[in-house]
Amino acid sequence: MNPRKMSMWVLAAAVTTALAGGEALADGKKGTAVIKGMCKFTGDKPKLTGVNMSADPNCKHDKPVPNPELIVGKDGELPFVFVHIKSGISEKYDAPKEPAHIDQNGCMYDPHVFGMIAGQALKITNSDDTAHNIHAAPKINNEFNFGQPKKGMVTVREGKDTFKQPEVMIHIKCDVHPWMSAYVGVVTHPFFAVSSNEKDNRGKFEIKELPAGSYELEAWHEKWGTVTQKVEIKDGETKEINFEFTKPGGGAKAAADRPAPRTVTLSTIGSGEATAAPAACCEHEPTK
């Protein structure tokens, strides 16, 4: 073995041990407070369409499958909203021993939106009689992309191979079936919830065992963006917090906090006697 390869090996060995050694955090305190509430969509409901799975008959369903990002209940109840505490928690929480789970079933991900604690393992199963690949495309964490070509395959990715850093949200997709998409919110604590898509509980979420404190809550929806609220809660208290989403409008952020407007002068092009001069735009400020 040549020396270069050798020191490579030593470095690589350092990686494995270092990664294996990093899981001894103290588990943070849990409390007794509860935040629960409802996510709603206001405004014109989007037209609900089904997912076109015609490309792969193995994905065939008897009834059309609605596109999850467009689902809005009768009174605007909005499922698949990831609600979590964005700031206000400083303690560290261990990732649970049991892995989070995502299944590929009927060429859809189940669950469509879910949460994990940074460093938690992830179990991925394929219940379909077709090949899937699982492609996580995080921005902060490391990307992974591997195949599960057979029905019934189970892969458990250890915490060191999943998401070690908090990141809201990470997109998970299948490149064979481009309509398949799931989102996972990775946070550092267990205080998150996803609004339900069950018929009777649609839009509802509940975060339990919360210690008393003042927090910033963030609710995220894949199509309608994020909404944040501040909340202060005492031990044993149950607070009702509702989130309202609307169609994002107007594009870029308003320029309210920018400096006062200044005059813009454009360069002009010449106007000789014989040419039609393009008029100078806007206010014209003579320059010396």
């Binding site: 270092a18 490309a55 320029a255």
Partner: protein, 1421 residues
């Protein structure tokens, strides 16, 4: 008795004379010593000593501060603790030491035993050989010796094992001992380091500080005594540079640079402003702690308003100067702010006038360059108060006492340009041997600085001025390069220039590279030859059949003032310039407007008369263009990579705005204009106004600066959401918002519309047909419709695309522009005649000229008149004589006059240099050669009335020369935004070129010239940045005067291929679509995915492929063919790869470029990795580890924290940038604030490992040779197929014939039978292992390699897989590769029988849910 000799000498007198002359000699010697002692460089060195002493003092202050003292106490305590701990395992240590001694003894004995036997064994071998030779192998003696030999061998083996066991045991004991002793040693070292720092600071303070040592060292007349280089001794420092020459009229000699005599600290990394400020801040804290303890008020740093903090320091070369807004500086300083824009003008100034207390300041590294300087000055002022109280000399932090700002690149011995080799004047020019500011020929950056210097530095002898700036500028050859243009000198060694390119424009000679690029792209080369720049195409379109494309009206208006139709055009302006506007009227040129109108008419007449036959293809029948689909195609297929189009609606914009409107609106809003107002303003602008706005604001530099900022934010985890990235308004190819108006001025005229359609159809189908030299590639090839097997139908589909785009383009109009012909009247006729007379003047007598003008035949039987003959002579070389004659004879006299005048004007203005024009194919370049322009003497440059001294005269004598700055509205477009900064004309080459480029007619101002003596160089409306870049390029045109060892070797290195290739990919605009090196493809701004979080990201899967490492990926033969005949590789992309018209050599240039770029990248990364590995190995060796040693219990090995070592900083920076750029690691993994040390080590180990993976992958050979293919049995072939099918590769890929029943009809990945032809096998192996390392974000799942699919297979499944296809990963990959290569050769098609056949629902259509059923359908599961 002495003989009395009579002499004429009188001893007495002589004594007096001798005494007097001795006194005089002594006096002059003393004077000499005094003069020598007062030379200005000594002052700088004294200043430097003072700074050094002060810094040492500061360090000592800091080290004596309570924190430092407590740190020392802590270190001492740590040592005690370590010693205490060591005492605990003292018995163990003793035992180990005994054991070590014992083992050592045993080992020596064992080694001796082994050695002895070995010697004996060698003898036995010899004996055996001897016996065997003498008696034969069967002889008993031989057999006996043989047996003995075998016995010895066995014994020897035993002894060796004994010895090795002992060695290992000893190693273990030694390692253990080292481990036991390590804490004590580390603690001892930490403490002694601290004490050494204190002692060192004291020593430096004493050596450098004012005091007896320093005085002694520098005693006048005795200063030769102390040895050279002693700290505190003033001395002249010089470097002799054998490779850099100076031209002393006919004799070239070595350069000798003494610049470091004054710029003492230029090579000291400690003398950078950053470090000095950091040290001073620490000192200030220490001082204030002391002051507070002594009940004194603490010192506070306050930045005073600008006016009062002006420092007289001379050499601040990077100060720029407020009056010339150098765009580059502005970008570098604050990328989020627009450069050179009047929108921000007020914003920038207000900051400078305020008094800012230090507590309100951002951290030093976040300050703008200007603020940094002001802050440093304020800090020094504060510290000087303290120094004054202490009785020390005051200090300052400015040149010449600072380090070079780029020590990583220049000066320092480890940099690529060490001072001992390159010196100073090879880059900065000037007079290196001089030690005086004036004689060294420093060049001011701007007029303010010139004023300041000319007052400050004047050399006088006996009161007479000997050298002033004026004299030096005028009469000296070797002026220093103005700081703005220093890059020009890079070209002396980097003669090809392109190898200095970095698309992001960082750390390289971006201005020079840009200048070189502009020189060819704008067509400067078409008029002004530069030897060695390679062949150059004509940049303008072919005009030999312009009548098929344009109307007279359009041509008139276009030539007259192109910007009127298209402000962004690269066509330069000949008319409406200051020397042909009405105010330029003079005795010889009575009506410039009438004259120029006539000229335009004449040229147009010529262009339309003398056209060559052209046979455009007829429009295909039965296909109607659909403008709506055309609009989609226009955006999707990639036209926008080269053409901006402000009128095109952005398909991704929710409000349906056109690009121009959207860009302007967003930009205004980000400049602080309220949303509604911004929208209203943008909506009110015409397309031309938007275009003007875009030219000024949406420059590539600004875009690139914002992208750099984005990168920075990403790597530091900053807020990318609120970062505004302005668009990049390309002027590479014409902006297309008015193309409909151009081709069909009157949309209601069916003839015009039909001509426009036909021309566009032909142009899009095959651009080279109309213009053989065009860069426009063929985009709408039939090959896009590869799914259609029928060739005729394929063509019809392509035709449909073309006609759709044609229909769309014709709707792009700008109807405020009226392309009407210039009305002709008698005055024009007379003007034409008088112009012809002017032209003939001097060559012809008045009578002959008359005959010429009237085309009067000389003799009655002449075939034609002289005018006709002259015209015929011009055109007969490109048209047939009969055809030409017929065209001439069909003209009336005025027509002929106009043809003659037109031809003369085309020659005069040099239209033929950029355009192909019938009759002018072989004409020579109209402009002067520029090959050695940078050496031109100042006396050869005509500054006209702007010659030296005029500014002062103007100041002294009020009205004098004021007419050089006319305040006429007529001039506004020339002088203001597009013209010159009038007060900034310096008397040097750079200023001449810069002002000429900004306003080419400026040196005609106030001159009285005849029409055709006037300056005629056209105005390109260059921005200040562009003019600077071109000036830099022109200044680089000199004889290099460096010897070949320091020049870059292009012939035998990868750089040759890279330099040629970079130039070529720029010219073809490959970089507009593809990311090749570190460029940001322009097209990506149209592929943005709006993200809900995480800022900007590009739709990578649908954008054109990333060509990073392409040279190591594809088979070079295939690549060569592909470039010339593009085939469909990625059918799922909507954007199309066009076919360029490349010849063999050009294709080779590209192939070689990609290969060399990969090789270069590989070697650059290997070099850095090598340094890391050497560091790690050395650390392990120091720790006594053999390379077999394992990480200790904490998972650490010595040297794994190489990245925290100071000496590795440059390597670390490189590897960080490299791995982050190619997403081999995530920013968070290298972030020390967010990682435990062990994790950080892991992050860097990953960076090193992954960078090594790519570096190995790109380590290829050029030309590439395909390794021989192993033969494959049919069984193995079948096994390979089975494996491919089992892995479900065909869910995304096709393999073989795509038309065959059962093939994947909607592939989302390339056809695998391309593998054998297209890909290098080494790359395929890498791809199977780690696809995402090669192409981050790829759809390809990872199969082998750590964390790949197969590694994660459940055990029984994997065992089954391995049982079938091979026990190891290597074997499995080899099987798959062999199969792919073999199947490609056999042209075999693989069909996956399990592959689902898509149902009938057409692609892309969503199933609509029945709205009434909705609740039940979706919501119940």
């Amino acid at each position: 008795m002495p003989v009395v000799t009579e002499t004429y000498r009188n001893i007495r007198t002589l004594n007096i004379i001798f005494a007097a002359s001795a006194l005089a000699a002594l006096a002059s010697m003393l004077w000499m010593l005094k003069d020598d002692h007062e030379r200005p460089w000594r002052e700088h060195q004294t200043d430097y000593f003072n700074v050094q002493a002060a810094l040492a003092h500061f360090e000592r202050l800091e080290l004596s501060s309570p924190e430092s003292q407590s740190r020392r106490t802590e270190l001492a305590a740590q040592l005690d603790a370590a010693l205490e701990k060591a005492r605990e395992h003292e018995p163990l240590e003793k035992a180990l030491a005994q054991r070590e001694a014992k083992l050592n003894g045993e080992l020596q004995a064992a080694a001796a035993r082994f050695g002895n036997l070995n010697a004996e064994y060698q003898v036995v071998i010899w004996e055996y050989e001897e016996h065997k030779t003498l008696h034969g192998p069967e002889h008993p003696a031989t057999v006996k010796v043989f047996e003995r030999m075998k016995r010895d061998e066995a014994k020897l083996d035993e002894l060796r094992k004994d010895k090795e066991t002992l060695e290992d045991a000893l190693q273990d004991v030694q390692n253990e001992l080292r481990r036991l002793r390590a804490p004590v040693e580390a603690a001892r070292k930490a403490l002694s380091d601290f004490d050494k720092r204190v002692a060192d600071a004291e020593r430096r303070e004493q050596m450098y500080g004012k005091g007896i040592t320093r005085t002694l060292f520098n005693l006048p007349g005795l200063d030769f005594a102390p040895p050279k280089g002693v700290p505190g001794r003033q001395e002249i420092k010089q470097v002799v540079l054998p490779d850099v020459r100076q031209d002393y009229s006919f004799l070239q000699s070595y350069s000798i640079d003494r610049c470091t005599t004054c710029h003492v600290a230029i090579d000291q990394s400690g003398a950078s402003l950053e470090k000095m400020v950091a040290q001073s801040e620490a000192a200030l804290r220490a001082i204030n702690a002391q002051r507070v303890a002594a009940h004194l008020p603490p010192l506070e740093v306050v930045i005073r308003p600008k006016a009062s903090s002006a420092h007289g320091g001379h050499g601040q070369p990077h100060a720029g100067g407020a009056a010339t807004p150098s765009s580059g500086d502005a970008y570098a300083a604050a990328p989020e702010q627009r450069p050179a824009s009047r929108v921000d003008a007020t914003h920038g100034e207000s900051e400078a006038d305020k008094e800012i207390p230090a507590r309100d300041l951002p951290p030093f590294d976040k300050m703008s360059p200007d603020l940094k300087k002001r802050y440093a000055a304020a800090l020094v002022d504060t510290l000087n108060e303290h120094l004054k109280e202490e009785g020390r000399e005051p200090i300052r932090f400015e040149q010449p006492l600072l380090a070079h700002p780029r020590l990583d690149l220049f000066v320092s011995p480890n940099s690529p340009h060490p001072m001992s080799r390159m010196g100073c004047t090879s880059c900065h020019e000037g007079n290196g041997q001089e030690t005086d500011f004036m004689y060294a020929a420093h060049t001011p950056a701007n007029r303010e600085q010139e004023h300041e210097w000319s007052e400050k530095y004047v050399i006088t002898t006996w009161g007479m001025p000997q050298a002033t700036f004026h004299l030096i500028e005028e009469f000296w050859d070797r002026l220093m390069m103005p700081p703005k243009y220093t890059q020009a000198t890079c070209a002396k060694c980097h003669t090809q220039i392109s190898d200095l390119a970095s698309y992001r424009g960082e750390g390289t000679a971006d201005k020079l590279v840009e200048g070189r690029k502009l020189y060819t792209q704008l067509g400067c080369i078409n008029c002004h030859l530069v030897e060695g720049l390679g062949d150059s195409r004509r940049v303008g379109p072919d005009l030999t059949h312009v009548n098929h494309k344009l109307d007279t009206g359009f041509l008139h208006r276009w030539i007259w003032y192109p910007a009127d139709f298209r402000p962004s055009t690269r066509m330069p302006h000949f008319y409406m310039q200051e020397n042909n506007l009405p105010s330029s009227r003079n005795d010889h040129d009575s009506d410039p407007m009438l004259r120029t109108e006539t000229e335009v008419q004449a040229m147009t007449h010529y262009l339309q008369t003398f056209t060559r036959p052209h046979a455009p293809e007829p429009l295909p029948e039965g296909i109607e263009g659909d403008p709506k689909r055309g609009a989609e195609l226009f955006v999707e297929t990639g036209c926008l990579a080269c053409h901006a189009s402000l009128g095109t609606v952005d398909p991704r914009d929710e409000q349906g705005r056109a690009f121009g409107r959207k860009w302007v609106e967003d930009d205004l809003r980000h400049a602080g204009v309220p949303s509604e107002e911004a929208a209203a303003r943008a909506a009110k602008m015409t397309l031309n106004e938007q275009s003007l706005y875009a030219i000024e604001h949406f420059t590539r530099e600004r875009h690139a600066a914002a992208m750099r900022e984005l990168d920075r934010l990403r790597s530091t985890g900053g807020d990318t959401d609120s970062l505004y990235i302005p668009p990049d308004f390309t002027r590479f190819a014409p902006e297309l918002s008015g193309i409909g108006t151009k081709l069909a001025p009157n949309p209601d005229d069916p003839v015009q519309v039909e001509r426009g359609r036909r021309w566009l159809y032909n142009w899009l189908r095959e651009p080279a047909h109309y213009h053989p030299g065009t860069k426009m590639p063929r985009l709408f090839g039939d090959n896009y419709y590869w799914r259609e097997p029928d060739v005729t139908k394929r063509r019809a589909l392509a035709d449909k695309d073309i006609l759709d785009v044609t229909a769309y383009l014709l709707t792009q109009r700008h109807d405020t522009f009226k392309p009407e012909p210039i009305a002709t009247d008698d005055r024009h006729h007379q003007m034409a005649q008088s112009l012809i007379r002017t032209l003939l003047e001097g060559q012809f007598s008045a009578a002959a000229a008359d005959r010429m003008v009237n085309d009067t035949k000389h003799a009655a039987d002449d075939e034609m008149g002289p005018l006709s003959r002259a015209i015929l002579k011009q055109v007969e070389r490109s048209l047939s004589r009969d055809e030409a004659l017929a065209k001439i004879q069909s003209q009336d006299l005025h027509g002929k006059q106009m043809l003659f005048l037109g031809a003369k004007m085309i020659t005069h203005y040099g239209c033929n240099a950029c355009h192909t024009i019938a009759g002018f194919e072989t004409a020579t370049r109209p402009g002067t050669e520029m090959t050695f322009w940078g050496e031109k003497r100042l006396a050869q440059l005509d500054f006209a009335f702007f010659s030296p001294g005029f500014e002062q005269l103007k100041e002294q004598h009020g009205g004098l020369f004021t007419h050089l700055y006319p305040e006429s509205a007529e001039y506004e477009h020339l002088i203001d935004a597009n013209g010159n900064e009038p007060q900034q004309i310096l008397y040097n080459r750079a200023a001449f070129a810069y002002h000429k480029l900004r306003n080419p007619r400026i040196w005609d101002r106030a001159k009285i010239k005849k029409p055709y003596e006037k300056l005629k160089m056209p105005n390109f409306n260059l921005s200040p940045g562009e003019a600077e870049a071109l000036t830099t390029y022109l200044l680089s045109r000199v004889h290099p005067l460096v010897s070949s060892p320091v020049q870059v070797d292009y012939a035998h290195t990868t750089w040759g291929g890279i330099a040629a290739g970079r130039h070529f990919v720029d010219e073809l605009n490959c970089v507009g679509c593809h990311k090749i090196e570190d460029n940001e493809p322009l097209i990506q701004q149209y592929f943005l995915v709006s993200e809900r979080s995480g800022g900007r990201s590009v739709d990578e899967l649908n954008a054109p492929p990333w060509l990073h490492g392409q040279g190591a990926k594809v088979n070079h033969n295939w690549f060569h063919v592909f470039l010339r005949n593009v085939e469909m590789l990625r059918p799922w992309l909507k954007i199309r790869m066009p076919s360029f018209h490349l010849n063999e050599r050009e294709a080779t240039t590209l192939v070689s470029y990609f290969a060399n770029a990969a090789m270069q990248e590989s070697s650059a990364v290997h070099e850095r990795l090598g340094a890391v590995h050497r560091f790690v190995d050395a650390a392990q060796k120091r720790a006594g580890m053999t390379s077999q040693a394992r990480p200790d219990a904490d998972g650490r090995t010595p040297g794994d924290d190489w990245f925290s070592d100071e000496t590795m900083a440059a390597h670390r920076k490189f590897l960080e940038e490299y791995t982050l750029r190619y997403r081999l690691v995530r920013p968070v993994e290298l972030d020390p604030t967010r990682n435990e040390p062990a994790n950080l080590v892991a992050g860097y180990a990953k960076a090193v490992g992954n960078a090594g993976f790519l570096a190995d992958l790109y380590d290829i050979e050029y030309p590439f040779v395909e390794p021989p293919r192993p033969a494959m049995s049919d069984e193995r072939f079948a096994l390979g197929e089975q494996m491919l099918l089992e892995m479900k590769c065909l869910a995304c890929h096709v393999f073989g014939d795509p038309y065959k029943e059962g093939s994947n009809s909607r592939p989302t990945a390339p056809n695998l039978n391309l593998t054998s032809r297209r890909l290098q096998r080494g790359w395929v192996r890498g791809w199977l292992q780690y696809p995402a390392r090669i192409q981050p974000g790829t759809k390809m799942p990872q199969w082998w390699g750590d964390g790949g699919s197969l590694v994660q297979y459940p055990k029984e499944l994997y065992d089954e897989f391995a049982g079938k296809y091979g026990p190891t990963h290597e074997a499995q990959m080899t099987l798959l590769e062999d199969f792919m290569y073999e199947a490609g050769l056999r042209n075999y098609t693989v069909i996956d029988p399990t592959l689902p056949k898509p149902s009938e629902t057409p692609e892309g259509e969503e199933i609509q849910l029945d709205e009434e059923d909705e609740p039940e359908i979706e919501l119940d599961e």
